[in-house]
Amino acid sequence: MPSALGEEPNTLSALGRRSSKADEKRQRHTPLLETQSNKQTMAAVYSLYIINKSGGLIFYKDYGSAGRMDTNDTLRLASLWHSMHAISQQLSPVSGCSGIELLQADTFDLHCFQSLTGTKFFVVCEPGTLHMESLLKHIYELYTDYVLKNPFYEMEMPIRCELFDINLAQAVQKDRVALLGR
């Protein structure tokens, strides 16, 4: 890994570590200008996937990743992730494993949250982005409120709910703002 991570300013490498509450507060209070120069105009979250308990993609949203992926690709990726998640449980050296929570790739981080019913939510974001667990929990709340409580929604089927879309856009936006240190 010659450059990509190594040359980032110190603040970013500090973001990569799991920090305490106090650290988070300090991050939030860093002057806006300084943080912006690190983050440029890139979106922190690249995309969001929701897959049902049998591995079918029921929701996909792209927030500006390079190179468009067609629907078939996203469906394949979602079901591949479902299997990888299951295999990782098999390989655990200790009992009680509930699958991959964080995958750190060279150019992105993938955070995954699995609800008790087996629905999986995962976001693809910039390496070292903080607050992704809470974003996923928040998206799960939105899902229970606006999708599951929608009388016209059929379980395990693709999500088409306007209110969910609106609130989701707000949540991701809000998270981006939190990252900018406002």
Binding site: S47, M69, W81, I87, G96, C97
Partner: protein, 169 residues
């Protein structure tokens, strides 16, 4: 992609991230998926035979690599999902974490894969894996009695790896 300056072992190995032995197991695969080395320090749960376990592990890494190569949000041309890629081609990954373990992964340009499974709260182990790779080069590749592609049976290498991993976080 990682590039390694020289094969000499750096005078000071990367500092351990915490105290105590957190490592569960270590795998080394060659590019054909043959398990060259398997070391186990702490593995209470065993559901599969060792051969099945190695196959499953290699399959998981292979598929995760094609997943990350396809998912890479920064590159425009990503090719098709599942097309085998050469080491260093496409976006790879260096670790994943579950609630019970953390798996750190490194692939050398020649396709040697080193996998270290540790406690979930271990820090970044990329430098440690590079160090283990250097040990492999020094103790295995430079051993005239070792034929490439065969399982590693080198007492000195096993001992050094054990010692290093025990000192690790």
């Amino acid at each position: 992609m990682q590039f390694f300056g020289g094969t000499e072992i750096s005078p000071s190995p990367p500092a351990p991230t915490a105290s105590g032995n957190n490592a569960h197991m270590l795998y080394i695969f060659n590019r054909n998926g043959i398990c060259l080395l398997y070391r186990e320090w702490n593995r209470p749960l065993k559901t599969l035979s060792s051969q099945q376990d190695h196959k499953l592990m290699f399959g998981l890494l292979f598929s995760l690599k094609s997943l990350t190569a396809k998912m890479d949000p920064t590159s425009v041309e990503k090719g098709n999902l599942g097309v085998p890629q050469l080491p260093g081609q496409g976006c790879s990954f260096h670790s994943f974490r579950t609630n019970t373990y953390k798996l750190s992964f490194m692939e050398s340009p020649s396709g040697i894969k080193i996998i270290l499974v540790t406690h979930p709260r271990t820090g970044d182990l990329r430098d440690s894996l590079k160090y283990i790779y250097n040990l492999y080069v020094e103790y295995v590749v430079k051993n005239p009695l070792y034929s490439p592609g065969s399982p590693i049976r080198c007492e000195l290498f096993n001992k050094t790896v054990d010692q290093y991993v025990r000192g690790l976080g």
